[in-house]
């Protein structure tokens, strides 16, 4: 049989003797084939097809396996990021002891001020004036009901621990329990926001002046439907100055007192 230069590699198994042991050597050998397809022997043709198929399958299998592994690793990483993104930590409270108390806030009772000495009333205001809304023993910010935007301030007053009876400090059991949960107690939500152009103006009849001829504070409050409009004006020495515009409450109304 003539061979015209074409060749391919085929596996060959050769038996070998090393001392008394017989072993097999697996080698790759060259098998020459004709360049003319029809002139090749059938055995040579099958060997060629088998080798090509097995080689391709092996390569595809190796490629698929390695890429699938990479793909799943990347997919797992991406899912991990998705599942761990935007997580939030919520506090949970496991009650260990329930006991009866009286807690929460009741409606305003202006007559309490009459029962206090004026000294004591002034002291209460002086104590809380600067810090009340920043002191989270008594107040916490919550989402508003009546307003929105940067000028909307919404506070909730649940009543502090100092207004609970009996006092929580007298309860010394369960030192590992670091929280004290007051259940279903009344409080007040107060929302402050600017007035609108349709709101009525504050007039002198809505105001009261407190102080001396040299230094005085004018506070104005007007009830509008179920809301209140409030403002503060200031007098120093000889003239009224507009120091604090009516706000807070549903008003940003410019008024210069004279």
């Amino acid at each position: 049989m003539k061979h015209y230069g074409g060749h391919l590699q085929v596996p060959r198994m050769e038996s070998m003797f090393c001392g008394s042991k017989q072993s097999y050597k697996f080698t790759w050998g060259l098998e020459f084939v004709d360049s003319k397809p029809n002139s090749r022997t059938r055995g040579t043709h099958l060997i060629e097809r088998w080798t090509q198929t097995m080689g391709l399958t092996t390569v595809v299998a190796l490629w698929t396996y390695s890429h699938r592994s990479v793909f799943f690793t990347l997919l797992r990483g991406a899912l991990g990021v998705v599942l761990l993104s935007n997580i939030s930590f919520n506090s949970a409270y496991h009650g260990v002891s329930l006991f009866p108390v009286t807690a929460g806030l009741s409606p305003i009772n202006a007559s309490i001020a009459d029962q206090l000495t004026s000294n004591l009333a002034a002291v209460t205001f002086a104590s809380y004036y600067r810090s009340l809304l920043l002191d989270n023993t008594h107040v916490i910010r919550i989402p508003p009901l009546s307003c929105s935007g940067d000028d909307c301030f919404s506070y909730f007053f649940p009543g502090g621990l100092d207004s609970i009876f009996p006092r929580p400090g007298s309860y010394q059991q369960f030192p590992a329990a670091t929280a004290y949960v007051v259940n279903d107690a009344p409080g007040y939500q107060i929302e402050f926001y600017p007035i609108s152009s349709s709101d009525p103006q504050l007039i002198t009849g809505d105001c009261q002046v407190f102080g001396t001829p040299f230094s005085a504070l004018q506070i104005c409050i007007k009830k509008v439907d179920s809301n209140l409009i409030a403002g503060i004006f200031l007098r120093l020495v000889s003239k009224w100055r507009l120091e604090c515009l009516p706000s807070g409450v549903r008003n940003v109304q410019k008024r210069l007192m004279s």
Binding site: L75, S91, S106, S111, I112, Y188, D206, G248
Partner: protein
């Protein structure tokens, strides 16, 4: 200014009395009917100064008002709205609500709807994924289903 009565379950820190959380704040809302007289009755007491008393400068009321007006004059300018002044106004209007009621300063009868129980509790943390704020029930169900599917896919990828 709008004042609304609400009911809440509130957690406090047992060590420093600060509010930790509003655990439950139901939708129940009760409008209030406060008027100017409720506030002026209290302000007139806290800011009362007897101008016939030549020694009124020595009173706590005078000193407090003097400090307050001086503070407002420093932080405020004509025709300029100052956030600190607004903060002062908001504080003034909040003090009567927080303090001047029978549950805190008064010794009169308290309403029957005050809170009746408290719990000493152990605080822990719970991690929640894919936090959502939608109130829409179908949206929340869809998000939970998606999250479950993603978690299942994540676990199957590890095998």
């Amino acid at each position: 200014m709008t004042i609304t009565k609400r009911r809440a379950t509130t957690a406090f820190d047992r060590a420093n009395a600060t509010i930790l959380d509003i655990i439950d704040l139901p939708d129940y809302k009760e409008p209030t009917n406060y008027g100017a007289e409720d506030f002026f009755g209290i302000f007139s007491r806290a800011f009362f100064i007897d101008n016939n008393d030549i020694n009124n400068i020595k009173t706590i009321e005078f000193q407090f008002l003097n400090v307050l007006t001086s503070f407002l004059s420093i932080i405020g300018r004509e025709n300029q709205i100052n956030e600190e002044a607004f903060h002062g106004l908001r504080s003034l209007m909040s003090i009567p609500i927080m303090l001047y009621n029978n549950a805190v300063l008064g010794d009169g009868p308290t309403p029957t709807d005050l809170g009746k129980s408290a719990t000493v509790a152990i605080r822990s943390y719970r991690v929640s994924h894919l936090h959502y704020t939608s109130d829409n029930r179908s949206s929340s169900v869809a998000i939970r289903c998606t999250r479950s599917w993603l978690e299942a896919l994540y676990l199957s990828c590890g095998r």
